[in-house]
Symmetry: C2
DNA sequence: GGCTTTTGTTCACGGCTAGAGCATAAACTG
DNA sequence: CAGTTTATGCTCTAGCCGTGAACAAAAGCC
């Protein structure tokens, strides 16, 4: 999001600004609103919109509601406009969706898998190739969310599935590079946080903290609408700090990791059940519903860890997604009981709110979409689009 | 650093870019270099430099070295150019400096104080007023570094000095607001990190971690050259996460804070000496020099905590300032012994380097300067300057 | 049906940067 | 020492961009 420095770049920069405003607003805002919000002259907006419409990037339709005055148009995604393919790969299944500018996601396929890299990624690669053939140049990128740290280049580790340095782009084996380049592979927590920042409770928040609970716990700081992804792309791993206090060895190689005390695995362990290997989602849900000591222990661990992170980073809001929503709903009292005393005194008068994500389990998928459009909604991305249509 | 959107803003934006390049380069780069680095046409650079020189923002001098071809000029700070007043307020003394564009800091005064808010800030306020009178409109801002969390508006807590919500701007009681507005009050760790990002080892680093050790421990993440300051300005408090494992109550109100195991206070405590109240800097230094168990314990605690933060944030480099430089020098073995095992396995092949700051104890002062110039090197700041000279 | 309100379109204008051509000032060459 | 080479600075024109005002359009209101 850096600025133009020459008068030639100004046009490209403003095209991007306008299209991003359309996307961020869910493709529901009228041209008059956009003109005002971006501080453009009406004439400028006229030229920009005409250009974007000609490039099949948007399409104007009469606004459904009028008050007085000349009716305005809403900027909608163009029927031949760009598509983002987004995938959420969980431990037991994946979900594939096609997304239009504005953020509408059409789920195309949900398929269970056996937990092996090949078993999960082979069929997914075929499905992606099929969609890319079908939609041709409209596909501007592929985003894939995965439940583990992702190093630059797409090497993924999912400790409790036994994935070690799995080369996701290679296993997906996409035939021709889509216009947007190689698939964007990312951590599910980071993507969920991105979605939360764009379309959830972290929207407009300068510093927020997002925690995603599933079998494990992931967490990431969101600054100015951007999750911090670290130097190698593996920066959403708050679960692997020794905030729990215990000395139990973690599958990640360190000891005492916070994540071991919070997720589905922790619930199963506390209830005396078998855990690990990405199995037992339903059982964990039952343990959670039953309440009692396992839930209280997880909620307390969550609260204590959140307090530590709030001390360190001073976020404005803390959001929880995945299983965290349910832990918060069922164990709020225990969570707050550990949260308060863990805070520095100066943070206690106005502690940041801890809230369930507005996006539920769709966060990772929507975040994968956003990351594709983030790469597309740049002067370079729009240039590529223009060329691919010529 | 957001961009221009109208052709009118382009000029202002490029003035800022040029002047910032001069400042960041230490006012040693030649006009030809600047032109190339910023990707400007020679004609554009000509106009911009002429404008900045006329506004007394910079001053061209012949370059000392030539190769071949027409000799170029170096852009130096103008003799009547903007000045930043920067202060580092420690527990036992403060230091005041006047800084030119480019980063040269002339120390004006170092004065011990008694540790009370009034005793420390009263004389400092007078010194600042005196300098503001002397230099008139040249003073574009005042930056003050303090050894505790600083909330927006300048309310400061220094737990072990007994400072509670001390209103620093009010106690400084600057007569007329300087052109730059109210003094910029900030945490010493955050300022040290800022300096490190601009003129130290974190320069050009996308994600870095800076830890400042004094009596306590402060730490902050540096992303794209900017320390993350939190929603209320109090985001440099990594020392108040329970990474140590102990349950000892901390002066901050929480328990088990990491900072209690690392700084000068920890060294004194481990050696069986009295600690707290901002006293005992020399004794702590002697404990450190003596080596042995107190040093080893502090170094191990530091290493273990760094590993946790590296796991969570995936920084490229970790830098240490203040007493951390000495702990690293004398206790590197113990530190690394705890650092490695605390890392996730995937981080162990290429763990981030842990390095002593290049700026030593001057970091906080230089960071205070940078924060003043950050506010000045904006289109608005340069406009104010223009008006104040008219 | 005329008036008001709001929005879209068109166009002249001023401002900005790029780039080319020319001037300048040194170091190098023989 | 004079001509050549190289790098830089200056000046001017062309092309592009956004602004803002005037005008047209399309509704709701009385």
């Amino acid at each position: 999001m850096n600025g133009a420095t020459t008068s030639g770049e100004l046009r490209a920069h403003n095209r991007v600004r306008l299209l991003r405003a359309v996307h961020d607003g869910g493709a529901t805002r009228t041209r008059a609103q956009l003109t005002r919000d971006l501080g453009l002259a009406r004439g400028t907006a006229s030229v920009l919109v005409a250009g974007l419409a000609e490039d099949a990037l948007l399409h104007e339709e009469p606004a459904p509601e009028h008050t007085r005055g000349r009716p305005t148009q809403v900027a909608r995604p163009h029927p031949d406009g760009p598509l983002a393919l987004a995938v959420d790969v969980r431990e037991d299944a994946w979900e594939l969706a096609a997304c239009e500018l504005g953020g509408d996601a059409h789920v195309l396929e949900v398929r269970p898998h056996d937990g092996t890299p090949r078993g999960a990624l082979g069929p997914l690669g075929e499905a992606l190739a099929e969609q890319t053939r079908r939609h041709g140049h409209r596909v501007v990128g592929v985003g894939v969310a995965l439940a583990g740290p992702v190093r630059l280049g797409g090497l993924v580790d999912v400790a409790h599935l036994g994935w070690r340095s799995v080369d996701v782009p290679r296993l997906l084996d996409l035939p021709a590079p889509v216009p947007g380049g190689a698939p964007i592979v990312g951590n599910d927590t980071a993507f969920a946080a991105l979605a939360e920042a764009r379309r959830g409770l972290l929207r407009g928040v300068r510093v927020g903290l997002h925690l995603h609970v599933d079998f494990d716990l992931g967490g990431v700081l969101v600054v100015d609408g951007r999750p911090l992804d670290g130097a190698n792309g593996t920066g959403a791993e708050f679960g692997h700090m020794p905030l729990g206090g215990g000395g139990r060895p973690c599958a990640c190689g360190a000891t005492g990791c916070w994540g071991m005390d919070v997720g589905a695995n922790a619930l199963l362990r506390q209830a005396g059940l078998a855990y690990g290997g990405g199995q037992g989602r339903e059982q964990a849900a039952r343990v959670l519903e039953a309440g009692g000591p396992p839930l209280a222990a997880a909620a307390r661990a969550l609260g204590r860890g959140i307090a530590a992170l709030v001390n360190a980073h001073d976020p404005e809001v803390v959001t929880l997604s995945g299983l965290g929503v349910d832990v918060l709903a069922a164990g709020r009292a225990a969570l707050l009981e550990a949260y308060g005393p863990g805070l520095m005194a100066i943070r206690r008068d106005r502690p940041p709110r801890v809230e369930p994500s507005a996006l539920g389990w769709r966060g990772a998928l929507l975040g994968a979409m956003e990351s594709v459009f983030d790469a597309f909604l740049t002067p370079e991305g729009l240039d590529r689009w223009r060329l691919s249509r010529a």
